[in-house]
Amino acid sequence: MASSSQISPRRLVGITAERATNVSNTEFPGHYPGEDLSWDLQKFNQNTTVKVTRLSNRQIEFDIVGVDASIANAFRRIMMAEIPSVAIERVYIFDNTTVIQDEVLAHRIGLVPLNVDPTIMDFRDPNDENLATDRNTIVFKVELTCTRNPNAPKGSEDPAQLYVNHEFLSSHLAWSPAGEQETVFAHSKPGPTNPNIVLAKLRPGQSVNMELHAVKGVGKDHAKFSPVATASYRLHPNIVLKGEIPPDRIEDFKKCFAAGVVAVDSKGKVYIDREAMRRDYVTREVLRHPDFADKVELSRIRDHFIFGAESEGPYRPESLLPEAIKVMRSKISTLQKSAQALLEVQRQEDVTMAEP
């Protein structure tokens, strides 16, 4: 990890009380005389690091250091909007006597994350809306009626004891296999990732009867297709001490930063804990104190991105970035084909133009 004294001022976005300074990247050819800042894969490979820092079954944190914001942002945008996933798109309601209106209930059902691996499914042809096959559509059925529980304990006011089926839960989605789906999905039965989502509440006599069609889609079409709950990045904070902090002010100084950022060594000297600095919020609180304002310099490192992504749906958190890169590269390859085709047309025209 870079230490403050080594970080080139060019890589820092300054943070002052009322202003962010040096906001834009300037590392382009021609910006600094005598420097070659053109694209060089070898240099990029040397100067760029990618490191996973935290990983759980639900979320991941990783650092990408040495890339431009446009690249980091492309990965973030793709994670949210362009990695495909499967969600319920059509709801055919035969009966809904709950207090939730049909369209509201249909919307709620659409947002339920499903555990279906999108790679085994095809996109449904948008020009042929009615063409549902076992390759592009998964069908769920819901049939639920709330009744009184004859064996309810006397005097109970708990709906769970008084009634049977008083809640329509995501676990009530019953998969109805079609065609080859039974063998394709043999290893993992399609269903919600979380069985305990309450979709509607029922009382005796109310019932729900519907058929749900799940299709593959992307987050830019509807947020329900987004495979992540959040995908975001922040820039690595950088805090540099510029002067001594008087011993009687150390406690107040500490309170201006996230816990553990300001530390005191055995000789009573204040220093910035570099590990903890990563977690600071850079609130600029310290700059509001007149006696601290000139003792510290706040900034963020422009090319150090700390990504955080929470997976919701079929992808494991560690496979989100590879999936995003896959989507990015497929975009690039379609563009390459198209640009190459244009280039050929251009060359042929050059030839014909030269002849007459």
Binding site: L37, S38, L41, N57, I71, P322, R329, I332, L335, Q336
Partner: protein, 112 residues
Amino acid sequence: MADTTKQKITIMKGATENLSAATYQIHDESHTIGNALRWMIMKNPKVEFCGYSVPHPSENHIQIRIQMYDNLSSLEALVKALGDLDDLCDSIESKYATSLQNDDYEKFEESS
């Protein structure tokens, strides 16, 4: 040449004949590719100017303007940038995979 690939990028009118200055319209793309591509094109020292825009949020396309020094072809700069961008993706992908394999990170469990 398939028609689908032909329509993905169109050269907008007003481009110079040798394409040293041209605006390209890319269909079905957004800031995601627009900004990344703009950055990579600007990394080319032969490029005088490059900028991109999303002309209207309801129209599903972006425009990239490229102007070259020395009457060079902007289309070739575009093709080069696409290739470089792919190399970049490949590099990040393998660095990420290595980091994941090195297993040097904090692990924890969460209930869903």
